[in-house]
């Protein structure tokens, strides 16, 4: 059975903004990337699943429990790391995480023990006894993650966990998320608008746009090879495309990039044709490569290839 399932979930805010628009999706175990642009409805979806917001219509189940009627029970077994700052500056990480463990329902002794464990897992050592007001963004993000983990949830919602981190901090946070999924055996739903990051940790993707489900599939299927070749030249791209078209090969120019359809069995012939035409015109060829689907393609006109052109 799915850990999370929603049916025709709709959330309209009083101002008239529709954040979720008839979203139906099933989510299973693993590290799940919840991707979408800013304002696509990712945070709203998480809040509805936590029972923090009530949906305008439709329904949702988390861990087999209805969010409308069993919010408390769900929240006992779910961890949540909000997007924004949420730490009081005048207490230490140890004090705060222990308290949050107790508010999750853990007895005092267990709360202390698990706090020590979890802070070590997220990589907070001596500094955990200092007041959090003096923490760097990276340390604050670790505490936010620790308070979401401390009660050993089955399911973890992380909302933009790499927000505000420098590249090294981002790498560490992503490594931590990957480890939580793999080693701690938790299902992690990571909401992010940064596809490049999601790609590194998620095994499954749920893409939403304007509150609607765009696609849900294993990560691999988002990035598999397409039947297209991307050819980049310094100049005369249009002439190359015209020549290829004259040979009966489907091709299109997009500035300095040309996409060339490989067709069925004639892939080698297409490669040869591109090579021959380039040589014949003495074109300054930058690269030729077999294009892969990119996550970004989800959110843009599918005919336009990207400058990064599938070197993945």
């Amino acid at each position: 059975m799915a850990l999370i399932s929603t049916r025709a979930l709709t959330k309209r805010y009083p101002g008239g903004v529709t954040a979720l628009d008839g979203l139906s999706v099933e989510i299973d175990e693993g590290v799940i990337g919840l991707v979408g642009a800013n304002g696509a409805g990712k945070s709203t979806l998480i809040k509805v699943l936590l029972g923090l917001l009530s949906p305008t219509s439709g329904n949702a189940e988390v861990l087999g429990l209805d969010v409308a009627t069993h919010g408390g029970q769900i929240r006992e077994r779910v961890g949540y790391m909000p997007e924004h700052d949420c730490l009081p500056p005048d207490v230490s990480a140890t004090e705060f995480v222990t308290y949050m463990a107790r508010v999750s329902g853990l007895p005092a002794g267990a709360a202390r023990e698990r706090t020590a464990d979890v802070l070590r897992h997220v990589g907070l050592y001596e500094e955990r006894y200092r007041q959090m007001g003096g923490y760097s963004t990276g340390m604050k993000q670790r505490v936010k993650l620790a308070q979401a983990l401390v009660h050993d949830p089955r399911l973890l919602f992380l909302d933009e966990p790499t927000n505000g981190l420098d590249p090294a901090g981002r790498d560490e946070m992503l490594a931590l998320i990957e480890r939580i999924g793999r080693e701690f055996g938790m299902t992690v739903v990571v909401a992010s608008h940064l596809l490049g990051e999601i790609e590194r940790v998620a095994s499954w993707l749920v893409a939403i746009d304007a509150g609607r489900l765009l696609r849900t599939a294993p990560l691999a299927s988002f990035t598999e090879r397409t039947g297209q070749l991307v050819v980049e030249t310094e100049e005369e791209t249009d002439a190359l495309v015209a020549a290829l078209t004259a040979r009966g090969i489907e091709a299109r120019a997009h500035g300095r990039l040309a996409t060339v359809e490989l067709g069925g069995g004639g892939a080698d012939a297409v490669y040869d044709a591109v090579r021959d035409e380039a040589v014949a015109r003495d074109l300054p060829l930058v690269r030729i490569e077999h294009r892969r689907h990119q996550l970004e393609d989800l959110f843009r006109d599918p005919a336009t290839p990207t400058a990064g052109g599938g070197s993945a």
Binding site: L50, Y80, E95, V103, P107, A110
Partner: protein
């Protein structure tokens, strides 16, 4: 002794451990919030400076009772400085001071630093949160409204020649003592919490609480001086005299210095005013905490 030289002093990363122990759910969560609230209100686990005000206020609240008991023990019941009826009115100024200084500690930072989403993503509801915080505040106030009067009670009983007979005489007053202490604690906690809920910073909340009681007290006194119809209004501009009037209506007994003495108003009016104070406070809390975005 049992550890071999190789293992002693080595820390092993034993990996992630799952938790299979008990989960106390909503009840555990609420009790944790109440405990932490009480610790914050009394400055426990914090710097010495944070303890000065709450413990100082409690000490000052106890002091008249200690003196009264001492006089009674040393000199017998020659003078009656404080009764069960007027004690809270006489130490009344301490209650707003405690409220202004400590109540903001409890809730303002949760809003200001957006900690609420972390609470509300746990097994409690918004109402549970407000009730737990209000409960902690009422319990803390109860220490000031109940302990000194209980001390007075104990002094009277234990200083008597015949302790058993004295207990028999005084025991009837326990209902009044506890009832009045609860009345003051619950109503003042509600007012304090409501003010803190709308104030953005601790200093604003403290200022607003003090202003309410200070202005109320001053206006009330001047009304009383004017006499006539204004004197009837005097008790109703100060929450503390509203509570004193309610106490008198519920349990009887007079507090000679309170404006309730000078006013010619039927007792139930004070109860109505108390209910209005409670109603407005909880309406503010309900609206505020329902609206706060998480």
């Amino acid at each position: 002794m049992s550890a071999s030289p190789e293992t002693a002093g080595t820390i092993y990363d034993i990996g992630y451990r799952h938790y299979d122990g008990p989960r106390l759910g909503r009840r555990g969560a609420v009790s944790a919030i109440v405990r932490a609230g009480l610790r914050a209100l009394f400055g426990l686990g914090r710097s010495g400076r944070a303890k000065i005000l709450p413990w100082g206020t409690l000490a000052l609240a106890l002091l008249p009772a200690v003196i009264a008991v001492a006089i009674r023990v040393l000199a017998g019941d020659i003078i009656e400085l404080y009764s069960y009826d007027n004690y809270l009115w006489e130490i009344g100024a301490l209650l707003p001071i405690f409220l202004a200084a400590q109540a903001p500690e409890l809730v303002v930072n949760d809003v200001r630093h957006s900690v609420l989403p972390l609470y509300f993503s746990r097994p409690i509801s918004r109402l549970d949160y407000v009730l737990a915080k209000g409960g902690a505040l009422a319990l803390a106030l109860l220490s000031i409204t109940l302990l000194p009067v209980l001390l007075l009670f104990l002094g009277r009983v234990l200083a008597a020649e015949d302790i058993v007979a004295a207990f028999g005489d005084e025991a009837g007053s326990l209902v009044k003592i506890v009832g009045n202490a609860l009345l003051h604690a619950v109503v003042l906690a509600s007012i304090g919490l409501a003010i803190c809920a709308v104030a953005g910073r601790r200093a604003y909340a403290a200022g607003a609480v003090l202003a309410l009681f200070l202005i109320g007290g001053v206006v009330s006194a001047s009304f009383q001086e004017q006499g006539g119809a204004l004197a009837d209004w005097a008790p109703f501009v100060n929450p503390l005299s509203i509570l004193d009037g309610t106490r008198e209506w519920l349990f009887g007994g007079v507090s000679p210095n309170s404006p309730v003495r000078a006013a010619d108003v039927p007792g139930p009016m004070y109860a109505v005013a108390t209910l209005i104070l409670l109603g407005v406070s909880w309406a503010v809390l309900a609206v505020r905490y329902r609206r706060i975005a998480t």
